[in-house]
Amino acid sequence: MDNLPDPVVYAVPAFILLLIVEMIVSLRRDKRRYEARDTLTSLMLGTVSQVAGALVGAAVVGAALWAYQFRLFDIGMELQTWWWAWILCFVLDDLAYYVFHRSAHRVRWFWASHVIHHSSQHYNLSTALRQTWTGFFSLSFLFRMPLFLIGFPPAMVFFCAGLNLIYQFWIHTEAIGRMPKWFEAVMNTPSHHRVHHGVNPRYLDANYAGVFIIWDKLLGSFVPERDDEPVRYGIVKQLGSFNILWAAFHEWVGIAKDVWNAPWQHKLSYMWREPGWSHDGSRMTSDMIKARWMAGRRVEEAAE
């Protein structure tokens, strides 16, 4: 495999600098945007995520190279000739990210790994670094396999994925309101991504985009941020703890308990159905929460 640098490594100093800038902004505008234990939890989760990624890196590259040998096309890496392939790779990798991300919210197995990223009740740049430890175990790398099968060289795909990750860092902030209209129309922005992290019923399961918000607009998952409804962040059942092990594994523990206790015919459903699903209807999925909220609104409107 061709060697390209990992762009994320070069971005780390900028991440730290921007974090400090955002903290200064928070000091002036709203001190509640940061909390020391929350920030420590986010950053520790991010650090261990890097270690976990490094430990399984060889296996992910191996899987990519294995798929790449069955490629449909031979696509080169050289920028002057293959510049269009780089652009196409970046766009298609972002589409693959959208599909992964939507699955990560709609299938409990993938959610168990992704939930770490949503487990903070804060929304600041440290939240961006709160990343999964169990991505490899949950098989999330499979979502990029089509790119290798098309013929995009693994080094090109991983480089584009790194750029995608870097892009997503700056959108985890409340310090920026709205970007210019044309930018909001095409790109994922702090406003769009705040909605994605929201637990307000209106905002649940929306805006899965990585870089381009157009995927949500095309595939029916776009919800705009409203000025009259501030976003509340976190997960439906807030963790209520700064324990990093619990943040990393609580949903896996939940799956294990549910699978153990469920009747045989429902065991698999506790892995592949949406988070909150239960065979006896005793819990709430995001769709049920939204339906209850909508019903409540209709009653309120009728009363008015």
Binding site: M23, K31, T39, L40, T47, H122, Q238, G240, I289, R292
Partner: protein, 135 residues
């Protein structure tokens, strides 16, 4: 692992601790309190859409509250960092009454036990908890 990897890991941990220290040193953060019954009811609705609280037992200092709805279901709300977290008060929750204090211990160890100073109301809410346990 090579020495370079250990150095990178050590530097990352140092940066993490520095930033967390900086957040505290800059005085960022808040001391959230449940201001009144209306606030507690709103927090319960945020924790569970449409909960519809009708009665509240609020800790004197505002660190926590129990909200009860018309169906008799109860939610325990407590401060967590700058925000709040809630859990249902069901048969698995252990309640302990000590004069004006009611301590609720949930099954979730990471959520911990919550002690509410409720004054004379403490015994009323303790008996409500017993009703929940009896089903």
């Amino acid at each position: 692992m090579t020495a370079a990897v250990w150095i990178q890991l050590g530097a990352s941990l140092a940066a993490v601790l520095f930033i967390a220290w900086l957040v505290r040193a800059m005085g960022l953060g808040a001391d959230p309190r449940i201001e009144d019954a209306a606030h507690a009811i709103r927090l319960a609705d945020e924790a569970e859409a449409g909960f519809g609280g009708v009665e509240v037992a609020r800790d004197r200092a505002g660190f926590a509250a129990i909200v009860r709805n018309a169906e008799g279901r109860m939610l325990l709300i407590r401060a967590h960092g700058n925000h709040f977290a809630a859990r249902p008060v069901d048969a698995s929750v252990i309640g302990r009454l000590d004069k004006d204090f009611l301590t609720l211990t949930t099954r979730e160890r990471t959520f911990g036990a919550v002690t509410l100073q409720l004054g004379k109301e403490a015994s009323v809410w303790a008996s409500r908890m017993r009703e929940v346990v009896r089903g």
